[in-house]
């Protein structure tokens, strides 16, 4: 069995240029197989422009990491498409396609790509199709449970489809995208004059229920979970399933410790030792793994939620 690799997902929040550059200069030393770069959420976020991301990617690639450019997930306008084409045509770094249009452009370039979780691949036929377009790796939808994934992988193997699988292993879950900006709405601003208030919330804005249960996270046009998904308790099983890589989604603080924790946990599986790793101090949200267990995504680690009343 191949060793589980660790990857760093794209920064989903809006950080300043300096903060982004500082973050990646540190990340360059972390034990990562792949670093995903780019603005995947909002077209108005332009602290780094396409060329800046490409240059940063080339620098990081020199440190021996695989670097992949993540496409914007919601492509609506011609200028969105122009930026996308620029990424695809960079001539060196591969693309994470987060939209079917992006997959098409990568295919036309004859470029292998990573099929992002937004591509909605829920079965082996669709996986084979995406593979035939040039995907070398895929990230299942974040809502997919362990047994469904196992069935898809089993069927894909039976059909002779070879592709790497990467799981969203750590971080607030990207759940929804909208044309509307909820951060702007919170500040009573129109989306087109949002004053870039996302930057004031480097881990997003917490949305509570009316009885103060932390529920979701507002991140501009994206809605995320408040709960921080952690697949850490399931790594032995995940490794046995033949998964290639685990994605850590960047957060404002402690990402380095999280990567390190996963690294230790993976090493413990390798050496068949039991090293308890506790990552809860590195999240200011509840750790959840409900999706993986076939339950509601919000279901906390260890919790068995009996759905309806």
């Amino acid at each position: 069995m191949k060793k589980l690799q660790l990857t760093l997902g794209p920064v989903l929040f809006y950080w300043s240029r300096d903060d982004i550059l500082r973050f990646y200069s540190e990340a360059a030393d972390w034990p990562l197989e792949t670093i995903y770069l780019g603005e995947a959420v909002c077209s108005r976020r332009q602290q780094l422009r396409g060329q800046d991301w490409i240059s940063l990617g080339r620098e990081l690639a020199q440190s021996g990491r695989q670097v992949v450019l993540s496409s914007q997930a919601l492509i609506e306008s011609e200028s969105d498409l122009r930026r996308l084409r620029k990424l695809v045509e960079n001539g060196e770094l591969q693309l994470e396609a987060n939209d079917l249009g992006a997959a098409r452009l990568a295919q036309q370039q004859g470029q292998p790509f990573v099929a992002g979780h937004h591509l909605n691949i829920y079965n082996a036929d669709t996986l084979a199709l995406i593979r035939s377009l040039g995907a070398r790796r895929w990230i299942p939808p974040v809502e997919m449970d362990r047994d469904t994934l196992s069935a898809v992988l089993g069927q894909a193997a039976f059909n002779g489809v070879q592709i790497e699988t990467e799981l969203f292993a750590w971080g607030r879950l990207p759940l929804a995208l909208s044309a509307r900006c909820f951060t702007a709405r919170h500040y009573n601003l129109s989306k087109d004059d949002c004053q870039f208030r996302c930057m004031e919330h480097p881990d997003g804005l917490r949305l509570n229920t009316r009885e103060q249960q932390a529920f979701l996270t507002i991140n501009g046009i994206q809605t995320m979970s408040d709960g921080c998904q952690s697949l850490l308790p399931h790594l032995a099983d995940i490794s046995a399933m033949g998964i290639t890589a685990l994605r850590i989604s960047p957060q404002w603080q402690h990402t380095a410790q999280v990567v390190q924790g996963y690294q230790q946990a993976v090493a413990a599986i390798e050496s068949r030792t039991t090293g308890e790793v506790d990552l809860s101090p590195y999240s200011d949200s509840l750790l959840v793994d409900g999706y993986w267990r076939g339950s509601a995504g919000i279901s906390a680690i260890g919790e068995t939620r009996h759905a309806h009343s």
Partner: protein, 338 residues
């Protein structure tokens, strides 16, 4: 003067045989329906068609010169996807005029098995740009794409100008504020989503809590909203609840509103939209009849009167009685909204 555009098709929902007949009788050009299982995104108890009702409905529509579309618009799940394949086989055998698909793997199946079957790309495919549509056209010869309710009118025009695939847009009904096919809020709260189970905020997870002062609406235990006495209470669709953000309690994601594009019908016709869709397979035959009749009149008037077209107060009145939350908007098509 540009050549006169043909009127867009009016595509109306049929959650049952009586609703289908109501749509046909009141002027729908096309009706769309789903089968009684999780292969479609309105998988609600008591809704949808079995073989017998589907046959009867298709016969009724065809007798009246109207078309029938079959929605198979969830994503086929896991290792055994024969249920979705059977639904496609069934649609082909029933002689529907087209099948609406979200999953590109299913598009391939349908294209390989039934080369002559007309395929539409569902709104659940999240195709918001023409490159995504071209992928499905090149690979599976899809003839129409339904656009998510997130594009402005200019963006819709941009898509139309760059593809010869027919474009269908939503014209009336509940407003999904999230991109269709890209929203997992429901499964985060309950384990079931439109993509996986064909449901959003499913009824079996809803619990009403009658307190001393307030009525609480819960979804799988999560408080979605709370209503004081006298306040109208709405179904706890989770993006339409009131939540607290930094000390403010408000509709943090979306107010319960309806989409209504009546006032922009001339522009919609002008940019070359091929079809206008009414949301609501979960609605009653009476609802379908009223909405279909009103939009039929409005659409015909817009075709006749062109730029002199004006929305008649009677139409607005008829539709506002049916609209969710009594408020109607143009959604993303024009966006002064925040």
């Amino acid at each position: 003067m540009p050549a006169t555009r043909p009127l867009p098709e009016l595509v109306c929902p049929a959650g049952s045989l009586p609703a289908l007949k109501a749509a046909v009788d009141n002027g729908a050009d096309t009706v769309y329906l789903g089968l009684k299982n999780d292969t479609n995104a309105r998988n609600f108890a008591g809704l949808n068609f079995d073989d017998r009702t589907a046959r009867e409905g298709i016969h009724y529509a065809h007798q009246h010169g109207r078309k029938v579309l079959l929605a198979i618009n969830t994503y086929a799940q896991g290792g055994d996807i024969s249920r979705w394949h059977r639904a496609i086989d069934e649609g082909a055998a029933l002689g529907v005029d087209a099948i609406i698909l979200a999953d590109i793997g299913l598009m391939k199946y349908a294209r390989d098995r039934y080369p002559d079957l007309r395929l539409h790309m569902s709104v659940q495919s999240s195709a918001t740009n023409y490159e995504a549509i071209k992928l499905a056209q090149d690979m599976f010869d899809i003839r129409r794409a339904v656009l998510p309710r997130v594009l402005t009118l200019d963006q819709v025009k941009q898509v139309i100008d760059h593809t010869n695939v027919e474009i269908e847009v939503f014209g009336f009904g509940s407003l999904c504020v999230m991109v269709e096919g890209r929203c997992l809020l429901s499964s985060y709260a309950t384990g079931e989503s439109p993509n996986s189970h064909g449901v959003c905020s499913p009824a079996k997870f809803v619990r009403w809590e009658h307190g001393q002062q307030a009525l609480g609406a819960r979804l799988n235990g999560i408080l979605i909203d709370e209503y004081q006495q006298g306040e109208p209470a709405g179904y706890p669709t989770l993006c339409k609840g009131r939540f607290e953000v930094e000390g403010d309690t408000y509709y943090a994601l979306e107010e319960p509103t309806s989409l209504n594009v009546m006032s922009m019908l001339p522009q919609i016709i002008d940019i070359g939209v091929a079809a206008i869709k009414v949301e609501g397979r979960q609605r009653s035959p009476a609802y379908v009849a009223q909405v279909t009749r009103t939009l039929r009149e409005a659409l015909d008037a817009a075709g006749r009167d062109k730029q002199r077209f004006a929305v008649k107060p009677a139409w607005t009145q008829a539709l506002s009685k049916l609209a969710e939350g009594q408020q109607q908007t143009l959604g993303a098509y024009n966006r002064p909204w925040k």
